[in-house]
């Protein structure tokens, strides 16, 4: 039997040196590769989220209808300044930076009508009810009577914070039954942490089935007889604004969020046929178009859950109901008349109409 002799010190030093050199190279290459993969995966996640949001916005807007007076298609242009930190630590000096890596957060809202005959008690499609269908985002919130249409508003929760806890979002409530926290507080939280901003859709039925309660027969039932649409139901100024907080059972169920997707910016611009460009309504204004513009452009910014990556994308959406050239000869400046119904094709100060949109704290 040959005698075992083991390594000499020299052999050990050679092996260890070679192994160390190789491991150093491998570790550095592995670190670079891992960083690249992580970065691409983050980018992939935000692109996927952005596509989901733009697909939903596109699908919702394609459902838009107007009445015989071209009511109502309106864009509210709002923006807020978020707390420095993410996505940038200081204000971006580039004045053209409207989205993404700036402290300016776009929080627009788009209002329009949709045809829908209502839903089941579970707020989903009723196959036995012609004209019933599911919206990509948004509960129809109506099942005791069946309306012909709804007013819809697709919006950023930064402008219109969600004010109920139907989905168990306890942070919205004060702890006192049926009393939500002030919108200013909720908005401030979003400005401190932009990952809390979401896409929301609100649907309000023409039947005004406003609330329901648990009845002696062991069923939920409407407490107010539904009635025909109010005068000027779709008229400018009567679009959905803040939703009714928990009030019976309906006010809280006709709104839905795209939860889990971090929507930092939501912006709508309209097509100006004369200037041949998409134009944003002036800051803090609303324009009630009649008819709707020929096209809009939706621009969004989303970020990943770790708040390390953002992406800003946009999509042009052609409006089937659109015929408004939206030129300077059509879109007028504010004449100071704020009586509802408000004039169409005229820039109106939305903060005059809804001062609570500026509340913080």
């Amino acid at each position: 039997m040959r005698k075992s002799r083991g390594f000499t010190i020299l052999e050990m030093m050679v092996v260890v040196t070679i192994a160390l050199v190789i491991m150093t190279i491998i570790i550095s290459v592995f670190q670079v590769s891992t960083r690249t993969v992580k970065s691409v995966e983050r980018k992939l996640a935000v692109y996927e989220a952005a596509r989901n949001i733009l697909d939903i916005v596109h699908a919702q807007v394609m459902m838009a209808v107007v009445n015989e007076r071209s009511e109502q298609f309106s864009i509210k242009s709002l923006n807020y300044t978020n707390t420095p930190g993410f996505p940038v630590k200081v204000a971006n000096p580039d004045v053209t930076a409207r989205y993404g890596r700036t402290l300016r957060r776009e929080a627009d809202a788009l209002q329009y009508g949709v045809l829908n005959a209502g839903c089941s008690i579970w707020r989903d499609w009723r196959p036995d009810l012609p004209g019933s269908y599911v919206h990509a985002v948004g509960y129809i919130g109506m099942y005791h009577t069946h309306p012909g249409a709804y007013k819809a508003s697709i919006r950023s929760t930064l402008a219109y914070p969600k004010r109920d806890d139907y989905d168990g979002s306890g942070y919205i409530m004060t702890g006192v039954w049926n009393v939500p926290r002030p919108v200013g507080e909720l908005r401030e939280e979003m400005l401190n942490d932009v990952t809390q901003i979401e896409l929301m859709n609100v649907l309000t039925s023409t039947n005004h089935e406003s609330w329901e309660a648990w009845e002696n027969n062991g069923m939920w039932g409407p407490q107010v007889t539904p009635y025909d649409p109010i005068h000027h139901f779709f008229a400018p100024g009567n679009e959905p604004k803040y939703t009714i907080p928990i009030y019976g059972d309906i006010g809280r169920k006709n709104q839905a969020r795209m939860s889990g997707i971090k929507l930092m910016d939501l912006d709508f611009a309209y097509w100006d046929e004369q200037e041949k460009t998409f134009k944003d309504p002036p800051d803090n204004s609303v324009i009630y178009f009649a008819p709707a513009p020929k096209a809009i452009r939706a621009t969004i910014t989303v970020c990943d859950t770790e708040r390390r990556s953002t992406v800003t994308l946009s999509r042009v959406i052609h409006l089937h109901i659109g015929a408004n050239p939206a030129t300077s000869s059509w879109i007028k400046s504010d004449d100071g008349d704020y009586a509802v119904p408000l004039p169409s094709n005229q820039i109106k100060n939305v903060l005059t109409l809804e001062p609570t949109l500026t509340e913080i704290n």
């Binding site: 039997m1 040959r2 005698k3 075992s4 002799r5 083991g6 390594f7 052999e11 050679v14 092996v15 070679i18 192994a19 190789i22 491998i26 290459v29 592995f30 590769s33 891992t34 690249t36 993969v37 691409v40 995966e41 980018k43 992939l44 692109y47 996927e48 952005a50 596509r51 733009l54 596109h58 053209t96 409207r98 989205y99 993404g100 097509w271 046929e273 004369q274 200037e275 041949k276 460009t277 998409f278 020929k294 096209a295 452009r297 621009t299 992406v311 800003t312 994308l313 946009s314 999509r315 042009v316 959406i317 052609h318 659109g322 050239p325």
Partner: protein, 195 residues
Amino acid sequence: MKFETVRPVHSLSVRRASRGLTLLELLMAIFIFMVGIMGVLMALPTGTNAASWVIFQDAAIHLSQSKFAEFRRDRVDPSVDLADGSGYMNGIGTTASGKPAGKQEPLKGNGWRDFAHTNPTDTYYHFDDITRYEWKVDQSVLKSVGAGAAGAPAGHLAPQFGGGNALDLYSVTIVVHMKGTTREFRYTQYMLKYE
């Protein structure tokens, strides 16, 4: 009672004494290990490459849908206005029938068009990484679909307004290309001539 000691069949004493590895064996082991690690590292770019493909496809979906929305917004006649040599596709701001329209980006020498992004008022100015993408309408497949119903046989009253009329339905394909690569994304929709 008598107990016998049972000897194991293979006792430790018969195992060959271990002798350790030689330097050559150790170097070979390191080499094999290194090949394995390199294999793992080479798999990482494959995943990254696939992810970047998906990112490109995501961007291309938005861009091609936007282009179709622009064409419909401008009420184009696909057979006339979407031809590369048309006034509409060369940025005159109207369709062949004189309707006001947006300005399409000019055709470059390489056969592609940029997405307008130079000025803040340009449609795609705020689209991330827009400089990486270019587009075109595939002229080779821009064609009408169907010739319309054949003329009604004598004595038949339908179709009411005669047959044989073109449907004015066109198959339009937009191709989005990632610059500096062979990556292309093709997006096809049917478009009717706008009356």
